[in-house]
Amino acid sequence: MFKKSLSLTTSYILVVVSVLILIGGLSSCKSKKKLAKEKVAAEYTARVQQAKKDLTAILNNTSPWPLKQQIKRVEVIKSYNIADPEVKGLITKAEEKLKSEQAVAARKAAEEKLRQAEARKQMSEQARFEHLNSIFKQIANAQSYADADDKINKALEIFATPEIPVLIIIAQSEGFNDYDRPTTIKKFLNYIKDMKSYDYRVDSIKKDVHGKITELELIKK
């Protein structure tokens, strides 16, 4: 009888313990889920706060990142699909701002490229005309009339005739070349002899089939 009673008590205890364990287990699982949920919520809040901070910095030009990195950051923030209306508004504004900055940067880059190409072209043309510029400088710096005349006569040999036209550009703007009164090479060479200075650079030349210069265009420095 006693043995049977003990067995029943043991069983009862086992059941109670099992129930308690089960209840405890369920409660622990529920707590873990809650923690995880809270963690996700905290992470989301932190992400939203960081996104707002970064987007505001981009809009206020206080971001330390270069343009490319800013664009990448906005793309990453956009990929979070944050539902916050403030973040959405900031993303739209930042995208517009960066798009405009990108267009300005692209234009500046194109202009710089063009400027460099122009500078290279000018340098190459200047190198091409350096000999001619040097001849003119020598005439301007001649020590006497005889020396200058000797240099002029030698210089005239590279021109088709002493009467070939010389055009002098005095200004370039609005797509216009403003010229001085056209002259001839003979008069121009005597002019630089008289003025004792050569304040020009050769801009372009035309040659005939014999390689003699038939037209000279100069730019006033």
Partner: protein, 192 residues
């Protein structure tokens, strides 16, 4: 074909109107360019006068320079000449002035122009010509054969400048250019 006709008509119209447009809508940069050009012509004249007056200039060179200097002026322009001895200013044609300058009765002549400035800016006239006045100060020194300074004076002169847009056919191209011509050179005052 119709488009080609319109294009030719447009081009023809542009070639006719370009000089007019160039005058009427002159930007400050282009105006500055013609201001400088006119000023440069006066400086060129100053250099030519020094060369012509110098007794070191060979006769043939002086004559060549007279031709160049004369080209700077409008036909019929006159140059005023003054001296401390005669209060009356005498006006000569520029050619005659240069020829007299070349033959001045001194063993050595020094002529220097300085303070070359616009006294009246270039102003556009109804016919499109820009007219202005540039003032200069001329220091003249004449020496005898012993190298002694026997005459010197300083003269303030006003030079009228005319700048006109013109065109010339160069190598098959129609080139629009600014033609600067100097007018009368008037003596304003002479002092020691």
């Amino acid at each position: 074909m119709k488009n080609l006709g319109i294009y030719i008509l447009f081009l023809f119209g542009f070639l006719i109107t370009e000089p007019v447009l160039a005058q009427q809508h002159l930007s400050p940069a282009r105006k500055q360019a013609i201001d400088s050009l006119a000023m440069e012509k006066v400086r060129d004249l100053s250099k030519y006068i020094t060369i012509i007056g110098s007794k070191n200039t060979p006769w043939s060179e002086a004559n060549r320079v007279i031709d160049r200097a004369e080209e700077l002026f409008m036909p019929g322009s006159q140059m005023g000449v003054s001296s401390l001895a005669k209060p009356k200013v005498t006006y000569y044609s520029v050619r005659k002035y240069f020829e007299r300058l070349m033959r001045l009765n001194y063993s050595k002549v020094e002529i220097e122009w300085y303070k070359i400035n616009y006294v009246s800016d270039l102003q556009r006239q109804p016919d499109g010509t820009y007219v202005g006045v540039i003032t200069i100060f001329q220091k003249f020194k004449g020496y005898d054969k012993e190298g002694r300074l026997i005459y010197e004076d300083t003269t303030k002169k006003d030079i009228t400048v005319f700048v006109k847009r013109k065109q010339a056919q160069i190598g098959g191209r129609l080139i629009g250019f600014w033609d600067v011509l100097l007018g009368d050179v008037r003596v304003k005052e002479t002092s020691r």
